[in-house]
């Protein structure tokens, strides 16, 4: 504020001084250049005017030679006085004649200034002869008096201007003083308290008063705004609290649903399982009327389980716990699989399904389960809401923003949707209307889940529809979904690893004794499940398949029994009472004497990714598909006399194809997608033949062979090496020392593979891989 004050005052002062200097300079210049010469000329003129007429008189007197008259004229001139200064006008007058005579008169004037001089010639008026001259000295005191007077006035004017400047400065200071006071007040004002500007003084300039009032108004508005902000802040806080409460409630709901779903599914699995067993037994016992009733129980149970699964999926998505299990898949295989499921329903409603897909559509990397579920949902909706119409499935790739996407478009000619219905279509538990629910059934969760699945995969589902004219649903997904960075972290946070100290307290069994005892018996399957009914169902089913089934109702009991009986297969539930199934799995795979035992996860939760990453052999979900269970257990426990081929290849399709051909030829097939998992499968059960791809991630074929050669009991296993690389002579020779047969990958390679397997199989002197291993164990012990 002081700065502001000085600035204005200085500006005004400088301005006024500037004006003063300018005016003084102008006046001085005017005085020096104009007035002084004019005054000087005026005084000179006076002298000239004085001397001319008197010279005429002198001329006449000289012509008459009357010098007394001349002196009289000169005296007359000397008497002339200036009335203002009261001084003689003439200092001296001198008449000089050509003949040498001089008449001179002077006044006693004591002047420091040089007088003005006026001279004029004296002629003879009749002959024009020059007689002499008159010289007059005119008093210059008056002239200097005028100059001094003017200078004095100039000085007075300067002093007056300086005084004026000081007065103006003072006046400005007084004017600015209230502004200064206001500034000081504003600097020290506490904005956290209600503030008001002090009352203005009575004597203030109108403009300053206006500023004062404006600041006062500003304070009022600031206070008003503060109050509004406070209210807004409180409202925002309240809204935030409500949001957090809502989120917390939602999380609690999701957790509750997850828990309840488990609690609901546990008895439901029993209902479905027992009804299925009863249905089969009743069918054998020829009770068709009861079979029908049991079918209804079974179907109702399955439907209820489907609903619970949907609710669980939704709650997992909302709780942010849904994970992606990304796999590369051939699109046409996936589509064939989905259409095969939907076709019976389409035929039931007399609908025609048309597929529009490029034969060379290739592969995509997605969560197959989630994509399959989403496609099934769209297609089953299309066939459900269309009768006697046509459903078209278009699949094509598209480049959007330099990224490759895949689109699945499902078009139908069904009942369609209104705009209002479209708006709420993807909301959970919403269907087109209540009549739709009554007529077509369903929970209204399918589309909501599908949309969330697609969004989880970085894509979207969109819909275009007109009431009565059908609908078009489009799924768009990145063709190759990238692995989420935090997958492993999440996995780690969910999986609690077992305390190995606690678990290894279990006594190590006498393996040879156990195997000797078992040689004459059937294979043993250990079921670890806290639900006794689930245990009983599995026991009853597998017993029919000639397996000896042992049950454990907790994780700790399960570990104890694993060590006691060394089962051929373990069926493991994830949600146990004392520990998680993941902990048991981790323990089994961390013990050298147990690592070979195949573990089949049998659970209601969908976490295949964790299961495989921890070393599970297979993953089955409840409710149990009994046929699938039998098949899976059979794969793990090979029957005597059946030869096993371990196919190690990172290409899933290649593995499938090998499995198809070899199983058709009577071989049992075990798969592993890299060398590391291959070693794990070998440890579980020594295969008759290993079909090995040489180029794989994690552990390639050469590294696998190195590991295989380190174990004496594995050194005799024949290996068929498959390679797409061109091998030179040295490489081929080196490889031939380590493997039985080398096959170049190509069009006819699968026939070569089958031929090679048959050749090795016929030569194979090992009657049974299991026997070989036991024999080795014996020899080692022995």
């Amino acid at each position: 504020m002081n700065k502001f004050y000085s600035h204005i005052t200085n500006k005004v002062t400088v301005f006024l001084v500037g004006i003063m200097v300018f005016v003084l300079a102008a006046v001085s210049m005017h005085w020096i250049l104009i007035m002084l010469p004019v005054i000087k000329d005026g005084e000179q003129t006076k002298a000239d005017l004085l001397v001319t007429p008197y010279t005429r008189l002198i001329e006449q007197s000289v012509n008459r030679n009357d010098l007394a008259q001349v002196e009289e004229i000169l005296n007359h001139l000397l008497l002339l006085r200036d009335s203002k200064l009261n001084q003689p006008m003439v200092v001296s007058i001198r008449v000089a004649l050509v003949g040498g005579a001089v008449i001179e008169k002077a006044n006693p004037v004591n002047s420091q200034y040089t007088p003005f001089i006026a001279e004029t010639p004296i002629f003879d008026s009749s002959t024009s002869v020059l007689l002499g001259k008159t010289n007059l000295e005119y008093n210059s005191e008056l002239y200097h008096h005028l100059i001094d007077d003017a200078e004095r006035r100039l000085y007075v004017a300067m002093v007056a201007v300086i005084l004026l400047i000081l007065v103006v400065q003072r006046k400005i200071s007084l004017l600015l003083k209230p502004l200064n006071a206001l500034a000081h007040y504003l600097e020290s004002v506490d904005l956290n308290k209600a503030a008001a500007v002090p009352h203005p003084r009575n004597k203030m300039a109108m403009e300053i008063t206006q500023v004062w009032q404006a600041v006062n108004q500003l304070f009022s508005r600031l206070q008003l705004r503060d109050e509004q902000l406070k209210l807004g802040h409180e409202a925002a806080q309240s809204a935030l609290k409500q949001k957090l409460d809502a989120e917390s409630a939602n999380m609690a709901k999701s957790q509750f649903l997850a828990n309840m779903s488990h609690e609901l599914r546990t008895p439901l699995n029993a209902i479905i399982g027992y009804s299925e067993i009863l249905r089969d037994e009743m069918a054998h016992d020829s009770h068709p009327h009861l079979t029908n009733d049991l079918n209804k129980i079974y179907t109702a149970g399955k439907n209820l389980l489907s609903l619970i699964n949907d609710v669980l999926d939704l709650s997992k998505i909302e709780a942010g716990k849904m994970q992606l299990f990304l796999e590369e898949v051939k699109v046409n295989l996936l589509i064939d699989e989905v259409l095969n499921i939907v076709k019976p329903l389409a035929e039931k409603n007399a609908n025609e399904i048309e597929l529009d897909i490029d034969a060379g559509i290739g592969t995509i990397k997605v969560d197959i389960m989630k994509l399959r579920q989403s496609l099934l949902n769209l297609l089953s909706n299309a066939v459900k809401f269309t009768t006697g119409g046509k459903i078209v499935l278009q699949v094509y790739r598209e480049i959007i923003s330099d990224e490759e996407w895949i689109k699945f478009v499902v078009k139908d000619t069904g009942i369609g949707l209104s705009e209002t219905q479209v708006e709420t279509l993807f909301d959970a538990f919403s269907q087109a209307d209540m009549s739709t629910t009554r007529r077509y059934g369903g929970t209204g969760l399918g589309l909501a889940i599908s949309q969330k699945f697609c969004r989880l995969m970085g894509g979207e589902i969109t819909v275009e529809s007109k009431l009565g004219k059908g609908s078009v649903f489009t799924i768009v997904l990145p063709a190759y979904i990238k692995e989420p960075a935090d997958t492993k972290a999440d996995q780690g946070s969910e999986v609690q690893f077992v305390d190995s100290n606690k678990l290894t307290r279990a006594r190590k069994p006498d393996i040879r004794k156990i195997r000797d005892e078992r040689r004459s018996k059937t294979s043993t399957v250990l079921v670890i499940d806290d639900d006794p009914m689930a245990c009983e169902l599995q026991q009853r089913h597998l017993s029919k398949q000639s397996y000896e089934v042992v049950c454990a109702s907790s994780g700790e009991e399960g570990i104890q029994k694993i060590n006691e009986i060394l089962p051929e297969v373990i069926l493991l539930d994830v949600m146990l009472t004392d520990m998680s199934g993941w902990q048991v799995l981790t323990y089994v795979k961390s013990q050298s004497h147990l690592v070979h035992i195949p573990v089949i996860m049998l659970t209601m939760i969908n976490d295949k990714h964790t299961a495989y990453s921890l070393g599970a052999t297979a993953y089955l979900t409840k409710p149990i598909d009994w046929d699938e269970l039998t098949l899976t257990v059979n794969k793990c426990v090979r029957k005597a006399g059946q030869e096993t081929v371990l196919v190690i290849d990172d290409d899933a399709d290649a593995r499938k194809l090998a499995r198809l051909i070899l199983e058709n030829d009577g071989y049992a097939v075990i798969e592993a997608e890299n060398g590391y998992l291959g070693l794990m499968r070998v440890a579980e059960r020594i295969p008759s033949i290993i079909l090995l791809d040489l180029v794989m991630p994690n552990m390639n074929g050469q590294e696998f062979l190195n590991e295989l050669e380190l174990n004496e009991s594995w050194q005799g296993i024949p290996v068929i090496a498959l390679t797409a690389m061109e091998l030179d002579e040295n490489e081929r020779r080196g490889l031939e020392k380590r493997v039985s047969i080398i096959i170049q990958k190509g069009i006819y390679s699968i026939d070569q593979v089958l031929g090679a397997v048959r050749r090795i199989s016929s030569k194979n002197q090992h009657p049974n891989t299991q026997n070989v291993k036991i024999a080795d164990d014996k020899s080692r012990d022995g």
Binding site: L49, P121, T127, S128, K133
Partner: protein, 195 residues
Amino acid sequence: MQSESLTLSRYPSKALLLFGVAALGCLHLVCGADTIDQRVQIALSLFPRIVAVDKRFQEKLTADNKARLVFVYERDKSKAVDLAKTVGTTNRNIVNVAVDTVPVQLIDQLAENAQAPTAIFITELLGEDDFKQLLLYGINRGIIVFSPYSGDVERGATVGLAITSRVFPYFNSGTLRASGVEINPMLLEMSKRYE
């Protein structure tokens, strides 16, 4: 013209300004004429006195021992006649020498056979060429060429008038030196000179 009148009537201040400028022009002409006449009148009394202070005045007299004062004109003979008559009347003699004042046309005066004058008085404003010829004539003859007209001393006339608060004789020093005319120093001191 019509449009100009209309324009002027539309702007009376412009018309007034034009009128004022025209009036001032006329006044200047009238006053100028008056000033010239006054200068000539003053010069008539000074001319014989200047001739008298010429130190070689006696050498420039005519054969019959007269001071021949020539009043040169180009077009206005009557004026020259009047002026010559006035000087002749008021100055019968100069330094006791009889004065003969004669009006002569310039071309006649410049002729080879023209009678040599004691001094020349220019009665009207001459053109540049005529003035130069006359000036050269005066220098060659060593005689005074007196011109009462303002600016003539600056362009070479031997003597003229300098009028401030008083009337001074106004000599051209260069012409004085060129023509060899010698003036009484007392008068020369009291006069103004054009260097």
